[in-house]
């Protein structure tokens, strides 16, 4: 584990390389030394052998010369000539000592021993080394190495005694002993031993060796051939050994100790080993320190990087020396700051509404989720009134700025831990921690008071109102989504009723699970064909004919009976399920209309389109395809749109309306007069008719004001080239009034209640019949 750390890896690599290099170097030095020693040994042994031969030769000459000189000594000759044994022996000893000869013998020309320094009784016995004599007789003198009776090897020199003719031979023996060997050893630089070997054994005669090696030598020599150097071992010592003949029966052994030859190289090698070991030790230490200096900062940086990985951007990276790692540290610090900044930005984007700087929906929901479960809290949803108009009239930039300053003002009235968020468009949400109904109510009042003061934008005073819905936790729900939805529903109610604010508890028990079950039921209803369409005919009062009818969606609920649209359409709109209902409705109505046409009954149905439908980009295509599929002319149907539906996204709504109008579909403004749409605004829309809100129609007889409104609306509508439809005519008086006012079409209980499609043709036939009567 430890070897995975950078520090040790660096150290190991460097030290390993050093050891490798040193080992190679040592191996080479050792090998080269071995070669040098081997060459040196060979050289020394051959040089030694040469020196030895020279010395032996020189020795021989010297001995011969000395012997010759001695033999020519007059007194010596004189003494020999006396033939007197004691005298001769005495002079032999005396003169032999002069030249260091240990053995002296006198032999007569016939080869008989006259005198021997070693033996008193030697006279007339035969000379022990006749072969020497034979050589001397032809060559004047002779020399050889001979082993004598005492076992000792001698270098024998035989020279004549001339007076002046040969009167005798004198033989002189110089002992070949350890001293001789040591002397030669000193001269040659080699170990010198003299051995005599026969077939069976080898005897050591003299040697410069001592002790055990001296004893071991003969046995080792058994395998040795003459004149060929060979390495012999004596225990731990090794000798390069050369065997040379010495005389006829003896050999000399020249040896050079390998260990001695190696000694200077060994000491050099040992010094080298010490240096290498020292170098490695220093290198280990140095590289550990060095790698620690590298790895230390790296480890520091690793710790920093780990902190950053864990999301802690607060700790700055420590300042390091300005090397590569220091630069890395600087980069890491910049990265840390960059990440921190970007995270901040991302958080802002994720949690902040860029337009107002307020929290966004996500932040709002998360904040709510963090509040302790079960503790009281209130969620309020505010939707600005008439914002669409402002946006439309003054342009989006102004609208956006207005939202900004409204947001600022709203932010001021909520203290933390409360929160203001912009959900979308002109809808704001408030989180009021610990608020109960009383607190929430007071907040609603405070909010309205805050909004009452006009907003100034580019010198323009803008009055902005709003509708507020408040849901309380835990009474109205436990989770943010439920509470928001209920607050929104309450807000819609408040908006519809224009009563400032509504508590969610006030909109009736409509708990979330019922919503969900309702959605599920709606889906099932669609599959089971529980939805039905009823048609309410519209009467043209001037002709008394029925040309159009409003298609009204009904839900034939298996348990609850026939349900009116208001009881489920708002939820369908809110949950988005309306997107499935509307195409069904369109298809159903268009198919019915086509069937009627096929029967000869031409009816133009009005189909209610919600705000969501209008913003659905597929709507135009759906209409186009369905009418084309049923071979219905584009103006064979009419789409009814409320004013509020137009207000949500006027630009997109207008675009879709223009497309529909271009296709030829008829468009009607439903509930006209209940909203804020002005005629000036309507003028810009591609609409064909106005449908006056039934609240006005119901009281045209009793209220002159309403009558005036209706009258003027009809007049203005006509002036704009629009068809005007009155809704909610309940009595024949109403009908009469409307006919007189020039209303183009009238719809209401006074004419007919909504009826199933199957009944409509018959009803129209009966009505016509009644009229004709």
């Amino acid at each position: 584990m430890i070897f995975r750390s950078l520090q040790y890896r660096i150290a190991i690599v460097f030290v390993g390389l050093l050891i490798l290099v040193m080992a190679l170097m040592l191996a080479m030095v050792t090998r080269s030394n071995e070669r040098i020693v081997a060459a040196e040994m060979t050289r020394e042994i051959s040089a030694g052998a040469l020196v030895f031969k020279r010395v032996i030769e020189q020795n021989r000459r010297q001995l011969e010369t000395a012997a010759t000189v001695l033999s020519a000594d007059f007194a010596f000759r004189d003494a020999i000539a006396t033939q007197d044994q004691p005298t001769i022996r005495s002079v032999l000893r005396n003169h032999g000592a002069r030249i260091g000869a240990k053995v002296m013998m006198v032999i007569n020309p016939a080869g008989e021993l006259i005198a021997d320094t070693q033996r008193g009784d030697a006279a007339s016995s035969s000379y022990p080394v006749p072969d020497l004599l034979a050589v001397a007789e032809t060559q004047g003198m002779s020399t050889d190495f001979k082993q004598m009776r005492d076992g000792q090897l001698y270098q024998m020199v035989l020279v004549p005694i001339l007076a002046p003719r040969l009167i005798a031979w004198v033989a002189m023996g110089f002992p070949v002993d350890d001293r001789w060997a040591v002397d030669l050893s000193q001269m040659t630089g080699l170990t010198i031993s003299v051995v005599r070997h026969d077939d069976k054994s080898t005897a050591l005669l003299a040697s410069s060796l001592d002790g055990a090696r001296r004893l071991a030598l003969p046995a080792e020599l058994q395998t040795l051939a003459q004149d060929t150097p060979k390495l012999l071992s004596f225990g731990d010592e090794h000798f390069q050994t050369l065997l040379l003949p010495l005389g006829k029966s003896a050999s000399v052994v020249l040896q050079r100790s390998l260990e001695q030859a190696e000694a200077p190289y060994r000491s050099m090698q040992n010094a080298l080993y010490s240096i290498v070991m020292g170098a490695i030790a220093m290198f280990v230490l140095g590289s550990i320190l060095f790698s620690r200096r590298i790895a230390g900062p790296v480890n520091q940086l690793a710790a920093v990087a780990k902190r950053i990985q864990e999301g802690d951007y607060a700790h700055p990276v420590p300042t390091l020396p300005p090397d590569e790692i220091g630069q890395l540290a600087v980069s890491l610090d910049r990265m840390r700051q960059g990440i921190a900044e970007r995270e901040q930005k991302i958080l802002k984007l994720a949690y902040e509404d860029t337009l107002t700087g307020l929290a966004n929906r996500v932040r709002f929901l998360e904040t709510f989720d963090r509040h302790p479960k079960g503790t009281p809290a209130a969620i309020a949803v505010l939707d600005l009134d008439r914002f669409a108009m402002i946006n439309d009239a003054l342009g989006h930039p102004i609208g956006d700025r207005l939202l900004g300053i409204v947001g600022e003002r709203l932010a001021n009235i909520v203290a933390p831990p409360g929160l203001v968020a912009r959900l979308w468009g002109d809808e704001f949400a408030f989180l009021l921690m610990g608020a109960d109904e009383a607190v929430a109510t007071r907040f609603a009042e405070l909010l309205h008071a805050t909004l009452r003061a006009p907003f100034a934008l580019d010198g323009q005073r803008l009055d902005v109102g709003g509708s507020l819905g408040i849901a309380l936790c835990p009474q109205d729900g436990q989770d943010a989504n439920t509470l928001l939805r209920r607050a929104e529903l309450a807000m819609y109610l408040a908006k519809r009723k224009q009563i400032g604010f509504v508590l969610a508890s006030g909109i009736g028990g409509d708990p979330p699970h019922e919503h969900l079950s309702l959605i599920g039921e709606m889906r099932e209803a669609l599959d089971r064909l529980e939805f039905v369409v009823h048609y309410q005919p519209k009467l043209d009062p001037s002709t008394g004919r029925i040309k159009t009818a409003e298609a009204l969606l009904r839900w034939q609920h298996p348990a609850k009976g026939l349900l009116p649209p208001l009881s489920f359409i708002p939820f369908a709109e809110q949950t988005g399920f309306i997107r499935e209902i509307t195409p069904w409705l369109l298809g159903h109505v268009i198919a019915q209309t086509a069937r009627w046409r096929a029967e000869g009954l031409i009816i133009v149905p009005s189909i209610n389109i919600s705000a969501r439908d209008l913003l659905n980009p597929e709507l135009v295509e759906q209409v186009r395809k369905l009418t084309a599929a049923h071979e219905l002319p584009p103006d064979g149907i009419c789409l009814e749109i409320t004013e509020s539906a137009l207000m949500e996204d006027p630009a997109l709504a207008l675009e879709h309306l223009n497309q529909l109008a271009a296709y030829g579909t008829r468009i009607s403004i439903d509930d006209y007069g209940s909203g804020q749409a002005s005629l000036a605004y309507l003028k810009t829309l591609p609409v064909h008719e106005l449908k006056i809100d039934q609240t006005f129609i119901r009281s045209v007889i009793d209220s002159p004001k309403d009558a005036a409104i209706v009258n003027s609306t009809i007049l203005l509508g006509h002036a704009l080239g629009l068809k005007v439809v009155a809704e909610g005519a309940e009595t024949s008086a109403d009908l009469e009034w409307l006919r007189n006012s020039g209303c183009d079409e009238v719809q209401g209980y006074g004419i007919a209640r909504p009826m199933p499609a199957a009944e409509l043709p018959g009803w129209i036939a009966a009505f016509a019949w009644k009229l004709h009567q």
Partner: protein
């Protein structure tokens, strides 16, 4: 060879009344004439009375001259030194041991060779110098010339033992008796003699410069 002796003896005995001469030619078995061989006739009947006699062996040019000298027992031999340097003449031979230590000119006393036998002479300071003296008990002797010839004159008739000797003889030929008659006789003798080996001489001062 023996046949020749017989013939010669036959001649000699026939001519024994007067003094006669004996001529001998000595050669090696290879037929080469031998110089300096001694031919000695010893009368079988008895040795004639000694006579005073004198001889001389000179030292000349660092050599003995002559190489071989034959004298009758009792002869006094002078060793005149004719070299400008000294000599040290010696003999270790049993017939006559003597030495004349470093001398120049003619020594005052000659050396009397009073015993028969051969005497090898050397010079102690010039090892190569050698000379031989054969001392005999008869007045009848001669030395072969370079041609190997020796002439013994005025030998009275009678019976003699004939001896040959040479300093480098490998073996002395056996002596035999012959009859010397009135007529000159001739003899051929074969002797195995080694060629004279001259020992290396040291150069003289003059030779060096």
């Amino acid at each position: 060879m023996t046949l020749k002796y017989c013939l010669a003896a036959l001649f000699a005995s026939c001519l024994s009344a007067q003094a006669s001469t004996l001529e001998v030619h000595v050669s090696t078995p290879a037929g080469k004439s031998v110089e300096d061989a001694a031919v000695v006739l010893e009368p079988v009947a008895g040795i004639p009375p000694p006579r005073e006699a004198r001889a001389s062996i000179a030292q000349q040019d660092r050599d003995f001259v002559p190489y071989v000298t034959i004298v009758r027992t009792g002869t006094a031999i002078d060793f005149p030194n004719r070299d400008p340097l000294k000599h040290h003449v010696y003999s270790f031979s049993s017939a006559k041991r003597f030495e004349i230590k470093l001398y120049a000119g003619k020594p005052a006393q000659p050396v009397i060779f009073d015993k028969p036998g051969e005497v090898a002479l050397g010079c102690n300071i010039h090892d190569w110098m050698e000379a031989y003296v054969l001392v005999v008990n008869t007045p009848y002797f001669a030395k072969t010339s370079l041609q190997g010839r020796a002439l013994l004159a005025d030998v009275p008739p009678g019976r003699y033992r004939l001896r040959f000797w040479h300093p480098r003889q490998k073996a002395e030929p056996p002596a035999h008796e012959i009859e010397i008659g009135g007529r000159p006789a001739k003899l051929e003798q074969v002797m195995d003699v080694a060629a004279r080996v001259f020992k290396p001489r040291q150069p003289t001062d003059a030779e060096l410069y």
